[in-house]
């Protein structure tokens, strides 16, 4: 395989407060290769956004953060990069597509001007050329009447159109890596599919790697090539999308898939994973998932020893469970692949 575009190595992120320390990310390894889509899934607070944002050093400046590990982008460690280098990378080589498009456009600046800004930050373009390119971009993301839209203000845009505009800004400089942080959670379900199409087309056109952060398994099934499942700031399972959906080897992944609502067959109660994700300032010892785990059933090793992310059958399939092997023999088939 070619060299990874982004390689996160042993990333740990802590938010120290006066009374306790929140371990938001704990020893995460993650790669994104050119052209592929990596889906990062997990519950709220599992550390999926923090992993990516801290790798790009985009956490809020007001937060006190301790970061260790490496975030290698094309071989350069972003965590060691100067502000100037970072600025050159952001937007030019790595673009972040935000979660909430409603608030990400400056309300007092015309959309076209904001697009021009995104273009001109990294390239010397004349105003007219930037305008032409901006309208082209709006067209690319499927904006109806791009010429008119160009000179409108964000309040004249619907949520879906704003997200299209954000994607247009994201791909303005043909970045090698796109990071989409729950790009559709703030949108209507009917708009979601359109936005994902736009994102997919944009990725195809630019040949960019895409890191898709979401808690929507349907989205993952549809978009991702590889999946990284996170729990309590750690990667618990990773593998290609088919393997993960057909034969999960971690009870958490299994639980997630099993709790997807079924639209076929007889009506039944929605399944859930019992309990809540752990308090990140006080993660249980051993496997962080053991208090909620159906497989653990009080086994001592789950409480005492932290499971490593080890290879299980199949290429690149890894699971951080002491009893990953057991799961295979159980041959439990969860909800199988569902597409939204």
């Amino acid at each position: 395989m070619s060299k990874p575009l982004l390689a996160i190595r042993d990333l740990a992120v802590r938010f120290p407060t006066r009374s306790e320390t929140v371990q938001a990310v704990d020893g995460v390894n993650l790669e994104v290769y050119p052209g592929e889509t990596v889906g990062i899934v997990g519950e709220s607070g599992s550390g999926k956004s923090v992993t990516v944002l801290s790798a790009l050093r985009l956490l809020p400046t007001t937060a006190r953060v301790e970061i260790s590990g490496q975030a290698l982008f094309q071989g350069r460690d972003l965590l060691q990069a100067s502000k100037r280098e970072l600025r050159r990378v952001r937007g030019r080589h790595i673009a972040l597509i935000p979660q909430d498009p409603m608030t990400c456009l400056d309300p007092v600046v015309r959309v076209g001007k904001q697009l021009r800004e995104a273009l001109c930050t990294h390239a010397a373009l004349s105003r007219a050329a930037a305008r032409r390119r901006a309208i082209e971009l709006l067209e690319t993301v499927g904006m109806p009447e791009p010429e008119q839209r160009y000179s409108q203000y964000p309040y004249e845009f619907s949520g879906g159109m704003r997200q299209r505009a954000m994607i247009a800004m994201g791909i303005a400089n043909s970045p090698e890596l796109l990071i989409a942080d729950e790009p559709t959670t703030a949108l209507d379900v009917t708009i979601q599919a359109q936005i994902m199409d736009v994102l997919r087309a944009a990725q195809r056109d630019t040949q960019a790697g895409l890191a898709l952060i979401t808690h929507d398994l349907g989205l993952i099934a549809e978009m991702a090539d590889r999946v990284v499942v996170m729990y309590a700031g750690r990667v618990v399972e990773t593998g290609d999308v088919h393997t993960i959906f057909r034969a999960p080897r971690h009870p958490y992944t299994y639980g997630l898939l099993a709790s997807l609502p079924q639209t076929t067959g007889s009506k039944q109660q929605l399944r859930q994973i019992p309990g809540n994700p752990p308090d990140l300032s006080n993660v249980p010892p051993g496997c962080p998932f053991h208090p909620r785990c159906a497989l653990s059933r009080g086994r001592a090793i789950c409480r005492s020893e932290r499971p490593e992310l080890l290879p299980v059958d199949g290429a690149g399939h890894r699971s951080a469970c002491h009893f990953a092997a057991e799961m295979a023999t159980h041959a439990q088939q969860p909800a199988a692949e569902q597409s939204s």
């Binding site: 990378v89 409108q152 309040y155």
Partner: protein, 309 residues
Amino acid sequence: MNPPDESRQPQASVAAGNGGGMGMAHDAGAPIRSAGLVRRFANNKAAVVGLVILGVFVFLAVAAPLLTGYDPTNQDLSQAFLPPSWQHWLGTDNLGRDVFARIMYGGRYTLMIGVIAVGIATLIGVPIGLASGYYGGATDMVIQRGADILLSFNPFLLALILVAALGIGLQSVTIAAGIGVLPQFVRIARAEALSIRETDYVAAAVNFGERSAIILWRHVLPNSLTPIIVYATLNIGTTILIAAGLGFLGLGVQPPTPEWGSMLGEARTYIFHAPFLMTFPGLAIFLAVFSFNLLGDGLRDALDPNLRD
């Protein structure tokens, strides 16, 4: 706030975009459109009263030579201390100068001092405050401690100290009044920058690799303008008072220039002999400050999306 219309169809949205007015009234983030602004402002009676008073003062100041034949500095001791009459509407002062003419011409100085002083405070204070709030850290610390020191003085006292340093005269009074209110502009701009710094669109601009200076200029400044405009309008009243106070103490604009504060100061000697000499300049100062206060309040109401309709 109402969410924007998700179901808006492309065809319909073009019309909605051109029609503008309806949609924007409901969107907090909508840029201020003059049509809606004027309408909201016109509905506010107090604000209109303020604007009318101010309009009258401006008109009197500008058209003074056409409205009166009297020269504001022309002395005629035989006509001193005349009470208001048809000849001299507001009477004459101790040197026989027509008070009405002096108030009309004096408006030129008073209004000019007020506007220019606030202009100084805005142009210097706002950039400092925005940078302070946006960059934070040591920059913020140094600037805010400086502002603390200045804020520990009453604006008038600060202006007084500055006049002591700069000397007496129109120019130094204007500068002193401006610097007197400057620290508050630093504070207000900083507060705006602090909140705008945390918005998603600033975060997005950082994501796209923009420079801080450009973000400040293109995003932070335009989004913080509304409260700054309101605050500046309200502060024109304050600077007028400061200038008038300095004039009253004899530290402001020097005679024979007809400035309201110094007119008041000169008239003080004759308070029992000719009380009208103090009444009219005092009334003029009161009305001018009052009009700016009404205007500022009206602007705030018209510009504040949370108070609309």
